[in-house]
Symmetry: C2
Subunit: 294 residues, 2 copies
Amino acid sequence: MNLNTLRTLTVVAEIGSFVDAAQRLNMTLSAVSMQMKTLETLLDADLFDRGFRPPQLTPLGRRVARHARTVLGAYDDLVGLCQSPDTIKGDFRIGFVPTSSVRLLPGFLVRVRARFPDAHFRIETGLSDDLLARLRAGTLDIAVVTGGDDVPRTMRTYPVSHEALVFCLPPHAADWSIEDCMARISFIHFMPHTGIGRLIAQQLDRMAATPGDVIVLDRVDAVAECVRAGVGFSILPEPDIRRFATDSIILRPMTPEPVTRDLVLACVAGSRLDAHAGLLAEAFAGGIGEATDA
Amino acid sequence: MNLNTLRTLTVVAEIGSFVDAAQRLNMTLSAVSMQMKTLETLLDADLFDRGFRPPQLTPLGRRVARHARTVLGAYDDLVGLCQSPDTIKGDFRIGFVPTSSVRLLPGFLVRVRARFPDAHFRIETGLSDDLLARLRAGTLDIAVVTGGDDVPRTMRTYPVSHEALVFCLPPHAADWSIEDCMARISFIHFMPHTGIGRLIAQQLDRMAATPGDVIVLDRVDAVAECVRAGVGFSILPEPDIRRFATDSIILRPMTPEPVTRDLVLACVAGSRLDAHAGLLAEAFAGGIGEATDA
DNA sequence: TTTCTTTCTTCACATCAATCGAATAAGATT
DNA sequence: AATCTTATTCGATTGATGTGAAGAAAGAAA
């Protein structure tokens, strides 16, 4: 009748190893092992196949672990019943898409700590799709993801930031048209397989301009250095590129009209942070610049 | 994170007193008190109003208690996941309508103990409507009730017994017609406000025969004695009346066609005994006679 | 295969939380 | 007010749960 064993089970199921689960839960390996053994005796069921060294969940074990999440969720809801609706308290897990983790995270943490001292967040990063899947699986309570069509209807979203995409040109191309750039230098494509990458690809399509040469990079700082060095030009969210040597990189708004990338705070409807997600979204207030520059 | 406190809370909420809840839970009053205090500190909420001597649940406390039942239900489901589908294990609460508790209960208990030694049942009695309400509220896992239209769709039912209603006439009326009886002696109406009582009233209606005089009784043995003494005649389920002095009471089938009263085992769909209700219904096999006479 | 590393299990021991019984306090009841 | 019933509090005991070290077992490397 103790939920700790269930919580441990879910963590073990998620992580796939007793040692790592123990570390995450701040307890010893032996405690985890004991708990799982206790649980198996209590339920009179084989949850793990110990023929493998990280013991593998049996099919039954997987079902139990999934159901354990429901039980824990129901329990968390009960705890939530007793909390005043304008405060947040407890341990939560929040996910960030990589670029947002650099820019939005610090300000978010500062504000949240000030406003909700009894709330603690474990921060995890991942691509939008990954984070959404983890929200659905219940291994994440809330996440900052790239907004758009990809976010399913079952999730509630709250706008967190609204960022203009801009062309980033090297100094020597200051007077060039975008067509000139396409023809004469490389296009540096940032993370094409991600939410923001798809947005960039979409813009290239829209301009019906095929770059002569494409370089793919997965770090904003690398893109910035390459642009500055004159290797090529790029498209990035303005706040991201502004963090790097703005003076030596030419920023130019998207043509014919501005394009924005939206970051939203997503939360499964009815999940335990559902009622508080709006409050948390406010902790991003002021946008990126203020949050990081403060 | 311990479910025992939640279970205690639900029992306290149901019973309305710490002492009685403690007795039901086989623990001391102080333990119950401590648990409730612990729970209140943990949730940081006032669950009870201690201005009254059996402490009264606050509105929040009531909500928490209701939600606690959900949590416990989810937990029970999890336990159920691990049990083989053809065995039953654990503590359950079963309700019986009064007459069935006399006749069906012993046989049921004997068979269930033999077949499912790890299942334990707390037996409670009540009228059909009461039992159905308690099933819905989750304070009962399963119940034997009078079948018919009253059983809502959300409940699954399994036939348990099928009993003919019969006229019970005193010896001196052995040759009388029912019309004669109506005119000359009292009709003894058994428990008119219950499931079976409504069925009896329905039969009187159908026969379009208004008895001259009606005596209401709520015990089968009292009905039997009155009939035997020649006070009046009655309608009862055959197995019930057979338990009393059959030789000195004339039984006659209902006219124009036989009428039956069905007892069903009812269970909320999706509740923790849902999957096993069919098996339990089998424990009533053989019907009343066999069960009690064995 | 043999050896080594990693990971889990087991054990004795320490620690903490839950329960009990008795004494006390506080609403109900008369 | 006196008394009854019921809940709270307190110290002592018990049981459950966690720790760390030693042992076993699976997987990787030689």
